[in-house]
Amino acid sequence: MAIIELKGVSKNFGGLRAVDNVSFKVQEGEIFGLIGPNGSGKTTIFNLISHFFPVSAGQVIFAGTDITRLKTHQICALGVGRTFQVVRPLKRMTVLDNVISSAFLRADGMRRAREQAEKWLDFCNLTPYSGQLARGLPIASRKRLEIARALATAPKVLLLDETAAGLNPGELDEAIELIKKIRESGVTILIVEHIMKVIMSISDRIHCINHGQTIAEGEPRDVAKDPKVIEAYLGHGGGGHA
């Protein structure tokens, strides 16, 4: 069944229509890629799902429940975790405390929260950093910290926003491994990504938008061949990312 469903979702910022009547269904257990050129509205869709701002029209459904009007923290509590494109660690807390803060959503008491946090730090290969302040981490580790923090809220769906951006090739492979590992643990993944190598190799299905509108959806091979997708990326000078 569809675990996340967008029904005709639109978002206006003043006169600008950032997202225009977008619909898609994310099936339970899959990795669903969301692609599009810069400024096409991908991150906005994430912000609409997790209700960082309200939708102008349409509905967001999570596992059969309408979450369109719920608040951000309620959506998280239902089981939708997310990361941010520009990482937002809780800077003056240690790496471990960052994850403990989010583990408290499910865990009762300090000891349980700490156990959970340590488990997810280990899962994301962050254990060596656990006592460090989050602001001192290198970028690749900060991205993993974001994921660990989101995972500690025990999400059913994880929204990953450009987790691979800014990583070197070695770190990129690690990131791909991590994403696959998360899926194996039973979490559905909705991922926004610019780096084609990543998105094409891990996604089960891909949804492509441009100027806030859907232009293609399907398996990675088909989407990559879609003339509208090629036009969107190459026709607007976005070829560098492909």
Binding site: C76, L90, S101, F104
Partner: protein, 331 residues
């Protein structure tokens, strides 16, 4: 833990102190210090740990004080009931305020809290039939000795520090600090930021209101300008927090000692020195100077604000490394 032992030793020392030092003037100063430990600690929980800087401690302090005073004045019950109720009423005042101000980000909370203090002061001034207006509220103190007040203030101060320690080791503390660090990130990990900011505000209001109620009982007299003072209460609370160390457990306690001591030095020693000087030199200028000098401690207070923020933005405890390095360099 080392800090635990230091804190325990300090507490034992404070329990024994009034038995050793029997000077009433000194005991009075210690009571004020302990009141400020309570207020500063409550402020720190909201500002230092939750990141919501309150410029409105006076609103809660005054409401607590007036609760105690008016209970006695209107209903004839003991003002000590205020000690139980002052904090609660302060929370009730804080609630609608937080409900309005917290959904707005940015400077609104700081400004709103400043305005809240002003609104309360104006109310207490204008609503004469209820508050006696500028006449203030006078009650008969229960005890002649300062000792009972001292120990109640000590219990309150120790209790407030304990509350902070308990909060920090729990979900509440983690949520507060998460909100301080990044509200959006906090929401994204399932924290109901408005709710937890409200809890933090309520703790601030409760501790400050209770301190206000104790102040009423101890001093026996309040008026709107004393208990709702922007400078003497709200700004003082911020200074106590900042001097000691924002976002540290014992910072406000240290800050309270320093600030009350400094205030007193400016108020009394500055006074005496100038007076002596004018007598020694004579002449119209010095005589004129001493005429205005009753205000000089406010000037000194203002300068202190400026200097503290410039030199120790994170306070003595927060900037401890910086401070100790200074001393090492000097020796």
């Amino acid at each position: 833990m080392k800090s635990n032992r230091v804190a325990l030793a300090a507490l034992l020392g404070l329990i024994a102190l009034p038995l050793v030092v029997r000077e009433p003037y000194f005991q009075h100063l210690m009571i004020m210090v302990l009141l400020w430990v309570t207020i500063g600690t409550g402020w720190n929980l909201l500002a230092g740990y939750t990141g919501q800087v309150s410029f409105g401690a006076a609103a809660f302090f005054g409401v607590g004080a007036y609760t105690a005073g008016l209970l006695s004045f209107h209903l004839g019950v003991s003002a000590w009931w205020g000690l139980a109720l002052g904090g609660v009423v302060a929370v009730l005042v804080g609630f609608p305020f937080g409900w309005i101000a917290f959904p707005l980000r940015g400077a609104y909370f700081a400004l709103g809290s400043l305005a809240l203090g002003e609104v309360m002061r104006q109310l207490a001034t204008i609503w004469e039939s209820f508050t006696q207006g500028m006449m203030g509220v006078l009650i008969m103190p229960t005890f002649l000795s300062k000792l009972p007040y001292y120990y109640i203030a000590l219990a309150l101060a120790a209790g407030s520090v304990l509350v902070v320690r308990l909060v920090l080791g729990s979900r509440l503390g983690y949520y507060f600090i998460s909100i301080r660090e990044d509200q959006d990130a906090a929401m994204s990990i399932g924290i109901n930021t408005t709710k937890y900011k409200m809890i933090s505000l309520s703790l601030h209001a409760f501790l400050t209101g209770t301190a206000g109620a104790l102040y009423m009982n101890y001093m026996g007299f309040i008026d709107p300008h004393v208990v709702f003072s922007l400078h003497d209460i709200s700004i003082m609370a911020i200074l106590v927090g900042i001097v000691g160390g924002v976002g540290t457990v014992y910072g406000p306690a240290v800050g309270a000692f320093i600030m009350v001591a400094l205030q007193e030095v400016f108020r009394s020693a500055g006074f005496g020195a100038l007076e002596a000087l004018s007598k020694a030199i004579g002449g119209g200028f010095m005589a004129g100077l001493t005429k205005y000098v009753s205000q000089a401690h406010v000037l000194a207070f203002g300068i202190l604000v400026v200097v503290v923020i410039m030199v120790l933005p994170n306070g003595l405890v927060g900037d401890w490394r910086k401070v100790s390095r200074l001393f090492k360099r000097a020796s």
